[in-house]
């Protein structure tokens, strides 16, 4: 693992998504991601977000000395590390877009759906590890699968199983789907949206505002393939919409710049909207390691009780 200090926020190099794709078990994958991620956070200012004492355990070399219970050491002359329980009053809903467009990829990147799956599994694992009630909602133009957020044994397994059996969906209508989700998710919590957000910003914004108005703490992971942003094509081709099958003949060398500009405007508009409405927004390319997304999540989670 490499650690970079480039920028205001540290970045960590975990396993590349395409390498993670070789791990067949989603649970193992999530553990690998999360544990590795957490292990790298030992200097993070965001630790200790739960203050409820859970248990002692013998000190092991490498444990942070700040968690060494000095009183016990003084009384018993033994080194114990204090462990705490996180709060369980936070509900985390992972909203996963499974529309057909999420199946897109430009090799060697993995599909956006796969990437979103890994990210969802990792978030669920992380949330479970933090004793948050985790739920999963998959959607395209409506809700495809709904797993209510719960904190109970087997919940993570349930979510991972649901993620593993995901099938490519149909056309997407995120705004419509979010409205329906808003009807189902009434209790406040964290709503993590994993989608490529192919909706006009005003339509998308109205749906996000609905969730936000319910008091949900929204996190948007805008998952994109790099080619969707960079549009590296050069030869004329018929571009087929993976959701509708509609085809548009395009001469990229003539229109590439205009496309990139249109995408950039769209992304900027979505980001500006999110910032304006207190929605955590993170643009994620499928070629990026998952830690960046997890970092965003934990940063957002730290502000919550």
């Amino acid at each position: 693992m490499n650690r970079s200090t480039d920028g205001a926020r540290p970045t960590f190099r975990f396993l590349r998504p395409e390498v993670l794709a070789k791990i067949s078990s989603l649970e193992l994958l999530a553990r690998t991601v999360v544990e590795g991620f957490l292990a790298g956070l030992h200097r993070s200012p965001y630790i200790g977000f739960s203050v409820d004492f859970a248990e002692y355990r013998p000190y092991m070399p490498g444990d942070d000395l700040r968690y060494l219970d000095w009183k016990v050491l003084a009384r018993t002359d033994r080194t114990y590390i204090k462990r705490f329980h996180g709060d369980t009053n936070t509900r985390v809903y992972v909203l996963l877009d499974v529309s057909a467009s999420m199946a897109y990829r430009l090799p060697p990147a993995i599909e956006k759906r796969e990437y979103a799956c890994y990210l969802a599994a990792s978030l669920a694992y992380l949330a479970t590890r933090q004793n948050d009630a985790v739920g999963l909602i998959t959607f395209d133009r409506g809700i495809v699968e709904y797993i209510p957020a719960r904190l109970r044994p087997g919940q993570l397994h349930l979510i991972l199983s649901a993620l593993e059996r995901l099938k490519p969906g149909g056309t997407s209508a995120i705004a419509e789907a979010l409205r329906r989700i808003a009807e189902r998710v009434r209790r406040r919590g964290i709503v993590v949206l994993l989608s490529d957000l192919y909706e006009p910003p005003d339509v998308l914004g109205s749906a996000l505002r609905l969730l936000r108005s319910q008091g949900q703490d929204l996190m948007v992971f805008h998952i994109l393939d790099a080619s969707e942003v960079e549009f590296p094509f050069s030869e004329a081709a018929r571009f087929v919409d993976m959701e509708t099958g509609e085809e548009v003949p395009v001469a990229p060398d003539a229109l590439g710049a205009e496309y990139r500009e249109a995408v950039r405007r769209h992304l900027d508009e979505v980001e500006r909207f999110c910032q304006a409405h207190g929605i955590a927004y993170q643009r994620v390319l499928t070629t990026q390691p998952l830690d960046w997304a997890l970092y965003t999540y934990l940063g957002r989670r730290a502000h919550l009780p």
Partner: protein
């Protein structure tokens, strides 16, 4: 510039097809599944962008190649002055219709070429059509209506005549003389076989402003075999042909050509000979001792047929009959028969083997009968005296029908009777005797057939012939004759000695001296016998000919007296009076077909053999350089211009060879396009490798 095949220009419309395909129908074959076309759809007019032609150079190269190909196939040619668009242009299509044009479909090609010229002729140009051989057939005088000219060209048929370029060109020039001012062109469409053009060379001279464009329609090679001529007797007496019948056979092949020559008599094959003719050789083949039937024998000589079969046959008519005698009539006999004029004439005639004993009949004028006169080949009348009116009338008829008579006014001639009987008819009177010692002949017309053999003074010296007396002749201008006598010789004092008088279709030779030795020493000189023979030959009815050639003028009265009832062509067609071949009065006809014509008379039917006109069998083509040289000579003062005319065909051909340059340019453009397209495709494939998503 114009086009020979302008319909091919429609092919240029095909240029639109790739453009339409490119702009309307042709979609990119590459299909790229994409997450969403939300933003692609929002692009400004993406379709127009796609439709924009990107590989302009490639497109231009392809369009150029296509256009070049279209233009090449349209056969463009540059209009020169010869084709010019001036309405004053006059064109004469001079098509060779001679016998040689029958070979290898030459006339059909000539017609095609003529129609091509008609098609290219500028609007408003006047076009004339002439078919020529030794006969000129002006089918269309200068005419603006192309349809008429085209129909005339199509109606042209080959003849059996020989070629006469001079006559054809002269006829064309005559047409052009009547044309208004402007360009005048003669398109001479022929096979230009060498022999005929050579003979025409000195006779053709183009005036200023007229161009002669030779168009050669002969294929390469001019191989042909032909029977060129046959030497045969027209009349024989014996059941076997008494001499050798000579057949001249020409081999105009480049290789030796073995062939079989067959002789047919009355459609019976009587003899056959195998000959191997060396290339370029004219050989003589002999036939002899073949049987003949009494009367007319239809004789045919045949070769194995070749590319020009019409000159591989030769037709003859050989009559097997007794010859007619020469009738010598003596008006008065005052001396012993051995000294009479008849005796001298008989002896002179018998000196020639052709005259057997029965062929010279000497009779006293008083004993002559009309039947004897009618059966005679010629009549020699010495010392005329009073005549039986019937005999007199028969004599006149005999001469009028083409017979010949020699009238010798010797010492015993009855001048009064002569003046009464023959004077008005001949337009000559006898005014008595002249006695002049040692007179001799002067002013002899050696150009006349009678005296032609005596033109050389070393061989014939008439100064040795002395006349002591002679008849004094006076021309009678008031005679019924419209044809004045022709004085062929005079005595030294200018008095007429020998006169030729044409009467009807015959001739009378009037001598102012006798044929015996009383008034002159002529019978005692070596000139006597040949002079008698010459006189007889010059007056007697022409001998029948075994054959005629196409285009010859055949006098039907020569064959048989009186008008024919009918003339049947070799193919059985009955010829009409005043038609193409027969004269208005049916006394002459000009055969245009080969074979045996049949002339029907009251007394029976007479066959006439007709063969192709000579000189057309050597089909050897003239070399172009030689033709140009001759054209220079033809052009006369405008030699260079004539050369230019000669090259017109080549120039036109060069003008029409633009398609080659266009085709070459198209190939070069296509090669460039191939290179450029290859590079483009490589770039395209490379970009595909970069941009195509791969599943899995």
């Amino acid at each position: 510039m114009s086009f020979l095949s302008p319909w091919f220009l429609l092919g240029a419309l095909s240029l639109v097809i790739p453009v339409l395909i490119h702009l309307m129908r042709r979609e990119p074959k590459l299909r790229i599944p994409f997450a969403s076309i939300l933003f692609l759809r929002r692009l400004p007019e993406p379709v127009h962008q796609r439709r924009r032609l990107r590989h302009w150079l490639l497109f231009l190269l392809r369009a150029m190649a296509l256009l070049l190909l279209v233009f090449a196939f349209a056969r463009p040619y540059l209009r020169g002055h010869g084709e010019g668009g001036r309405s004053g242009t006059a064109l004469v299509l001079l098509l060779d219709c001679s016998l040689s044009m029958r070979a290898d479909g030459r006339l059909a090609r000539a017609r095609e070429r003529a129609e091509e010229i008609l098609a290219r002729a500028p609007e408003g140009a006047r076009v004339g059509v002439i078919g020529f051989s030794t006969r000129v057939d002006v089918r269309v005088p200068l005419e603006r209506d192309r349809a008429i000219a085209r129909a005339a060209v199509r109606a042209l048929r080959p003849t059996f005549r020989a070629t006469d370029y001079a006559q054809g060109v002269q006829a064309a020039l005559s047409l052009l003389e009547r044309a208004e001012e402007g360009e005048k062109i003669i398109y001479l469409i022929s096979d230009f076989h060498r022999s005929k053009w050579r003979s025409a060379e000195p006779e053709i001279s183009l005036p200023r402003g007229v161009r002669l464009v030779p168009i050669d329609v002969a294929p390469e090679g001019g191989e042909n075999r032909a029977i060129l001529d046959v030497r045969a007797l027209a009349r024989v007496m014996m059941p076997q042909y008494p001499e050798r019948l000579l057949v001249r056979v020409g081999n105009f092949h480049r290789v030796a050509a073995p062939t079989t020559i067959r002789l047919f008599v009355n459609d019976r094959l009587v003899q056959e000979k195998q000959v191997a003719l060396d290339p370029g050789v004219v050989a003589t083949v002999e036939f002899a001792d073949f049987p003949l039937d009494p009367g007319f024998n239809r004789v045919r000589v045949e070769l194995d047929p070749d590319r020009l079969p019409d000159d591989d046959r030769f037709f003859l008519i050989i009559r097997r009959e007794m010859p007619r005698p020469v009738l010598v009539l003596e008006g008065a006999r005052s001396r012993a028969s051995a000294e009479s004029a008849g005796f001298y004439v008989q002896q002179a005639l018998l000196a020639d083997d052709a005259f057997g004993p029965g062929r010279v009949l000497v009779r006293a004028l008083s004993e002559a009968t009309p039947e004897q006169v009618k059966r005679a080949e010629a009549i020699v009348l010495t010392d005329p005296a009073a005549l039986d009116p019937a005999v007199e009338a028969t004599l006149r008829e005999f001469v009028a029908a083409g017979g010949g008579m020699i009238l010798a006014l010797g010492p015993h001639a009855d001048a009064r009777a002569f003046n009464r009987t023959f004077g008005p008819w001949l337009g000559v009177k006898v005014e008595g005797e002249r006695a002049q010692a040692f007179s001799f002949l002067t002013e002899i017309e050696t150009s006349h057939p009678l005296f032609r053999p005596f033109a050389d003074p070393r061989r014939a010296n008439f100064s040795n012939v002395r006349f002591s007396r002679s008849a004094k002749l006076a021309l009678d201008p008031g005679a019924v004759s419209t044809t004045p006598p022709l004085v062929l010789a005079r005595f030294h004092d200018g008095e007429p000695a020998v006169l030729e008088i044409a009467r009807g279709r015959g001739r009378v030779l009037l001598l102012a001296f006798g044929l015996d030795a009383q008034w002159s020493n002529l019978p005692l000189t070596p000139l006597y016998a040949p002079l008698i023979h010459q006189m007889l030959a010059s007056v007697r009815r022409s001998s029948p000919r075994p054959f005629f050639r196409v285009g010859e003028n055949v006098a039907l009265a020569d064959a048989a007296p009186g008008r024919p009832l009918a003339i049947l062509a070799p193919d059985g067609e009955r010829l009409h009076r005043g038609g193409e071949e027969v004269s208005e009065d049916s006394t002459r006809f000009t055969p245009e077909r080969i074979g045996i014509y049949r002339v029907r008379h009251l007394r029976g039917e007479e066959p006439i053999a007709v063969n192709v006109e000579a000189g057309e069998s050597d089909l050897t083509k003239m070399e172009e350089a030689e033709r140009e040289r001759l054209m220079t000579a033809v052009g006369g003062g405008e030699g260079k211009r004539a050369i230019a005319s000669t090259g017109e065909e080549r120039v036109q051909a060069e003008r029409q060879t633009l398609w080659r340059a266009l085709l070459l340019a198209a190939i070069l453009v296509l090669l460039s396009e191939a290179v450029l397209a290859d590079r483009t495709v490589r770039r395209f494939r490379a970009s595909l490798g970069r941009s195509s998503p791969k599943e899995g």
